[in-house]
């Protein structure tokens, strides 16, 4: 093999770095494009009527996404009510008993749950809730979202609690505080910001999910707050409007995308702030 000259090696070095930079820009520029486009197109659809009116029939001007906003809030509320308590307790279990056999099985189960495609969890929610109740409902959608949110909350809770020093709990236990009180009043509050981060991340993930809602929450052109009736949701509303042939509906879809994107990105940024400002550190 012939040795390459130093000059060509140095040129190769420059080319390599430039190539990496160019590919990285190719990977990240679409984000700027997506954000910019949706901000421009979406913001022009947004007004008070858009946020507070129900959808209008095809051909009629106006129409809003009030039903989808209310539906998404309802679904996230149901999902959170189920997944936050269970997720946090499972996280405490993993942090406390993670090295036992049951602990490692549970961790594997949580990580597996995290990797299951959301549409599969939608089918599971269909089998468990929609079939027995004989109808689509907000409750079934909430169950599907809970299964998506739970592993996020559990894993961040475990990660956070493992950062809390043993000396803190030993101090509490030495003062005669009972074990549950030590966990609930000393360890958990110390890790609160980390747990909050997990909850926000889980909500951000759940709020954008559409696939599992297709055959659980289903969709509803009217305003509904009943957990036993189908409800609309922002992502499914975007899907239905985006795949329709009507330009007026596309405008609504851009508007709804804007609202959803602002919400998700705001949650992500708040999460970053929470975890950097009130970092769990000792």
């Amino acid at each position: 093999m012939r040795e390459a000259s130093l000059g060509s090696r140095l040129r190769g070095d420059k080319a390599f770095k430039a190539g990496m930079l160019a590919l990285s820009l190719v990977a990240t520029l679409p984000l700027a494009f997506i954000l910019g486009f949706i901000m421009v197109r979406g913001a022009s659809s947004i007004n008070w009527r858009f946020l507070t009116a129900l959808p209008a029939p095809v051909g009629e001007a106006g129409g809003g996404i009030a039903n989808a906003l209310v539906g998404t809030v309802l679904l996230i509320l149901i999902g959170s009510l189920i997944s936050i308590p269970l997720g946090v307790i499972a996280g405490i279990f993993l942090a406390e008993r993670g090295r036992t056999r049951l602990g490692s099985v549970t961790r594997l189960a949580v990580e597996t749950l995290m990797g299951i495609p959301s549409i599969v969890l939608g089918i599971v929610a269909y089998i468990w809730v929609v079939r027995p109740l004989k109808g689509f409902s907000a409750f079934s959608g909430g169950i599907a979202l809970a299964m998506i949110m739970l592993p996020v909350i559990t894993l961040t809770t475990e990660e956070t609690l493992l950062l809390i020093p043993v000396s803190l709990r030993e101090a509490a236990l030495a003062l005669g505080v009972s074990y549950p009180r030590t966990i609930l009043r000393v360890v958990l509050p110390a890790g609160l910001s980390g747990i909050l981060t997990g909850v926000l991340l889980a909500v951000a993930r759940g709020v954008g999910e559409s696939a599992p809602l297709l055959f659980t929450a289903f969709g509803n052109p009217f305003l509904s707050v009943s957990i036993l009736k189908p409800v609309a949701s922002l992502p499914l509303t975007i899907f239905n409007y985006a795949t329709s042939p009507y330009p007026e509906w596309h405008a609504l879809a851009w508007g709804a995308s804007f609202v959803l994107l602002v919400f998700v990105l705001a949650l992500n940024l708040v999460t970053k702030l929470v975890s950097s400002k009130w970092k769990v550190q000792f």
């Binding site: 070095d13 307790i89 009972s178 951000a204 992502p235 995308s257």
Partner: protein, 295 residues
């Protein structure tokens, strides 16, 4: 005293019960899918993944076309995403580990992961589909716009954050003395990356790529919006196709008849098994690599 001790044991029991509950939940998910796909498993047998006829009218449900569509879109997306995410990982894990550019790009990658699937699909429908249509016109192919290629490119951008962030972490974990040793022997920085850092971080990067693959296999809404939803088996990238997840999204709420519904659930079962296997292997590789670096 007695009350305190009792509440302590009740609390411990609660912890164990919830921990057990998560494992039971996973088992219940698997068993439910298995149970409800039974009629299809019995009727289709092995032909389910070898045959290509998916026809609700004749009652034949064979999923090879969708399995092929899923594999094709996922692996093309993976190839594109791996190239791009490797570049990002090298840039952020080696060249620019701190500074404004690193911060902006890191945030951008994190935000890419946060954009909902349906928004990707909508963007794809409006920009990628016309672009692919123009390409097809230039090549003289039927100008569908939607199809395997369109779905693969869109998927690539959706999955690259996962392998990019893990790859960055793995490359930044390469010990400085190794890199300095190579530099002192006269290696150029790019030679350090290619001959020291990448081989060292190889298995961790592979783990990240596998996690990306897991996402690609199960991705539904964006794919269903741009893949064309055709039921025939095709290996032509420019023609419309379909994937397993996208088929479920399209047909599940309209499926009539026991075998039809069960066949769709069987596809979900297959998706569950494949993505679970890939995720577990990916996680194991990442854990091993991180443990080797941080004993």
């Amino acid at each position: 005293m007695r009350i305190e001790r009792d509440s302590g044991s009740a609390f411990r029991t609660l912890l164990v019960l919830v921990g057990l509950g998560v494992s039971v939940l996973l088992a219940a998910i698997f068993l439910s899918l298995l149970l409800f796909s039974r009629p299809a498993l019995l009727k289709n047998g092995l032909r389910f993944i070898t045959g290509t006829e998916w026809n609700p009218v004749t009652g034949n449900f064979q999923a090879l076309a969708f399995v092929a569509g899923t594999l094709l879109t996922s692996f093309i997306a993976l190839a594109i995403a791996t190239a791009l995410s490797l570049a990002l990982a090298i840039l952020l894990g080696h060249y620019f580990r701190t500074g404004a550019l690193a911060a902006v790009m890191k945030t951008a990658v994190e935000l890419l992961a946060g954009i909902p699937s349906v928004v990707y699909g909508f963007i794809g429908l409006f920009f990628l589909v016309p672009a692919v249509r123009a390409l097809q016109l230039a090549l003289g192919a039927p100008p569908y716009g939607v199809g395997i290629l369109t779905a693969s490119v869109l998927l690539a951008f959706m999955i690259l954050p996962y392998s990019a962030s893990i790859g960055r972490e793995m490359i930044s974990l390469v010990p400085a003395d190794l890199k300095e040793a190579a530099l002192s022997l006269g290696a150029t920085p790019s030679e350090v990356v290619r001959k020291v850092s990448l081989p060292y971080a190889r298995s961790g990067i592979l783990g990240g790529v596998l996690l990306s693959l897991g996402r690609a296999l199960g991705e539904t809404m964006a794919v269903t919006m741009v893949v064309g939803n055709a039921h025939n088996l095709t290996l032509n990238l420019l023609s419309p196709g379909n994937t397993m997840a996208s088929l479920i999204a399209n047909e599940f709420s309209e499926a009539t008849g026991e075998v039809y519904l069960a066949s769709l659930i069987e596809i979900a079962l297959l998706l569950f098994l494949v993505s679970t296997a890939i995720n577990i292997v990916g996680k194991l590789i990442i854990k091993r690599t991180s443990a080797a670096v941080h004993p």
